[in-house]
Subunit: 439 residues, 2 copies
């Protein structure tokens, strides 16, 4: 009788295992995920979305590439389960700025003539028994997914390649917006409100120039427009890189405002250019340094313009660069952004487990009011290397402000909050390698 019971148990258990296997697509799956390009406040929520959804859907090992595809090539790979161990780790991961796995700006070479690089990658993936490969990044990083997809097709590899979007710049094609943008916009708008209040503290004229990130697209700078409301005067002038900048007209416009207002606040993108194509900061005679990639350090636009105003009108000016805090101020996250970032990661896993490849997860706004967004999938070839700018019709004709349509577009993306886990007075984070990345 006891024996029969044990046998029955074994039968039931086997049946259950079979069901699980079926749920898991009939065989065990390892997946790998990497982060690439500049970080956002919520890039780790997308990582969590990939990790948790893959585990929930029956993946065996979720590997992480340390410093993206470059780390993969160098064999720098971790088992994420050993690093994200429990619910607390997951909640810390959501709130941790910078890319948990580290990032890279490495772009894969053309397939033609570089087959050895691709063969090496696919050999590593095969050895790790990888079913699907996820890459969280912007339009440069989607180039990696596109090339790997193309090579997989060429060599008839069954590995699935899926892109998960992120960028504070919001310059990705097809998707309504990108995870990371909402939190950056919330940080920028919050800070701008504070700067506007601060600018009114004294009884003499002050001109504040706030410099916002965005080399080619003005989405981030446009977020300064959100400051205006029942309790705030808002910024006076907003300059996006989509419109050619005219220094003389700028100085005149500020002069007009100074006749009416005590405190003038201006938002300007680091990427604004004059008619001959030079960046405004390049007009300064002060030579700033050039970074390791040959990118000219653009910081200095606000300083240059503040100097012009001080020179012309003799008023107090302030140049405020929001700097890298725009991409790492995780103490201000938009909850909607955290959720959408997680969902994009999770939807990526769902797509791969349904057998899809060569896709980038996108967000589609299915309702304006109330705001509702769902995930979709787009062909990576439509997204890689394409840059989405602010439509000219969302900028005022004179190019010194944005239209209500743009505010209406951004506002839902900064909604709701997620509280930092404050420990001993500071937000708690989680690290991949405690103390080993730095002595």
């Amino acid at each position: 009788m006891l024996l029969l019971f044990v046998k029955l148990c074994i039968i039931i258990e086997t049946a259950a295992l079979g069901a699980a296997k079926k749920f898991r697509g009939n065989k065990m799956k390892n997946v790998i995920v990497g982060q690439s390009g500049g970080p956002t406040s919520v890039i780790n929520s997308s990582l969590l979305g990939v990790f948790k959804t893959a585990k929930d859907r029956g993946a065996d090992t979720v590997y992480g590439m340390v410093h993206g595809i470059k780390g993969l090539l160098d064999g720098d790979i971790v088992d994420l389960s050993a690093r994200i161990k429990n619910d607390l780790d997951m909640d810390l991961l959501k709130r941790t700025p910078s890319s948990f796995l580290g990032s890279c700006r490495y772009k894969l070479p053309d397939i033609k003539g570089n087959e050895d690089t691709y063969d090496k990658i696919f050999a590593i993936l095969k050895k790790l028994e990888i079913y699907a490969f996820f890459y969280i990044g912007g339009n440069d990083s989607m180039d990696t997914i596109m090339r790997l997809t193309d090579y997989a097709e060429k060599i008839k590899s069954p590995i699935k390649f899926i892109g998960v979007p992120k960028t504070i710049d919001n310059d990705l094609a097809v998707t309504d917006h990108t995870p990371g943008y909402g939190s950056a916009a919330k940080y920028i708008a919050t800070t701008t409100k504070e700067i506007i209040r601060d600018g009114l503290v004294y009884d003499y004229p002050v001109v504040s120039v706030v410099e916002v990130m965005g080399r080619n697209a003005g989405w981030l700078t446009a977020a300064c427009a959100l400051a205006k409301g029942e309790d705030c005067e808002g910024v006076d002038l907003i300059y996006l890189p989509e419109v050619t900048f005219d220094v003389d007209k700028f100085v005149k416009d500020v002069g007009k405002l100074l006749k009416e207002e005590r405190s003038v606040v201006i938002a300007v993108s680091e990427g604004v250019k004059v008619a001959d194509g030079r960046y405004v900061c390049e007009l300064s005679d002060h030579v700033d340094y050039v970074d390791a990639f040959g990118h000219k350090q653009l910081a200095g636009t606000a300083r240059y313009l503040a100097g012009k105003v001080a020179e012309k009108y003799g008023v107090k000016t302030r140049a405020i660069e929001l700097s890298s805090l725009q991409r790492c101020a995780a103490h201000i996250q938009a909850r909607i952004d955290v959720t959408e970032a997680f969902n994009c990661g999770g939807a990526g896993v769902k797509a791969a487990f349904e057998g899809k490849s060569g896709k980038v997860i996108t967000l589609k706004r299915v309702s304006e009011d109330p705001y509702m967004c769902i995930t979709e999938e787009a062909d990576v070839h439509l997204i890689a290397n394409v840059e989405k700018k602010v439509p000219r019709e969302w900028i005022t004709d004179d190019g010194t402000n944005v239209k209500p349509e743009l505010v209406h577009y951004i506002l839902p993306l900064i909604q709701a909050e997620i509280t930092p886990l404050w420990i001993n007075g500071l937000p708690r984070h989680i690290r991949l390698h405690a103390n080993s990345l730095k002595k």
Copy 2:
């Protein structure tokens, strides 16, 4: 019988009124309050402490000087009850950055030879039937309280003058610390943690130089040391203005770190000076502008030092100026700081209503562990125009970091949080004049 009952009621009511009058010091009192110098995140909590405590203790009208003593002289005075109407207004006031009443940097002239100015002030105060005058400010503003106290004594005026301390710089004498410092330190430490994580995102060397406010005292820059902890590597080098800066040694020290670490993070005060007394930012050949007060714009120290490092080692560098956000980032307030700021305002009223004058409210740390602080009163002559620097023994011998004693001193001051009132995705503020300060 009914008549007797009514009579009895009248007697009881009269007695109650008498008790209330006694509680209010036997006669009606008007008070006036102003804010002066640079704002802090909690300067409006001190304003609320004065307003609410004065009303609770029976003051009739609480007047506010708009733009401090300068506004008083110009007749720019408001009745605060008309502006702070209910509990919601009070909670918004606590969370609003910048000085609600506006501020000034106006210093009263010497009494001798300028009696007309003082007579004018006292005439205005007499006309408003002012019992007590409260001034929320730093050591410059306490000079105003000192002079008014001295003049009141000279002309035998019964008006009480009380100083309520504030400054993010924490450079006030006698008091353990100043309201405003804790929240600024919390903002600086939080931001520094985020910058440290962000600096480790790539796999190549990066040197980040974070520039912190503080012309003569290094208290704010020292707050960067709080970033170090179980989850954070901390900053590598900290330079306060209390120690003479050596550019060559700095470059060498960074070089040593670059041999061991991928990401080097440095905190430097805007006020660091080299041996010949020049500010480090003055070493640059780039001429920044001079503000309306003839103060040289010091912003540029981080940029100068980052340039030196880039030049020498060819690594990627970042110069990050925390700028005026240090004094206005009200979205990060330390609750302990908000409470102490309120209490200092309230204790000022209590002192005045007890008949005291010529006092500044100070904070005394009565217990280290657990941290406990009480308010006391100090003679204004001991505080006005005196600057408290970081003790040399709290800085390491080589002047490149702070000692644990300094961290131990700051840590209790950044504890606990107060959540912004998030409305439509942004922190809500309250304004004195809706839309009238700016068209």
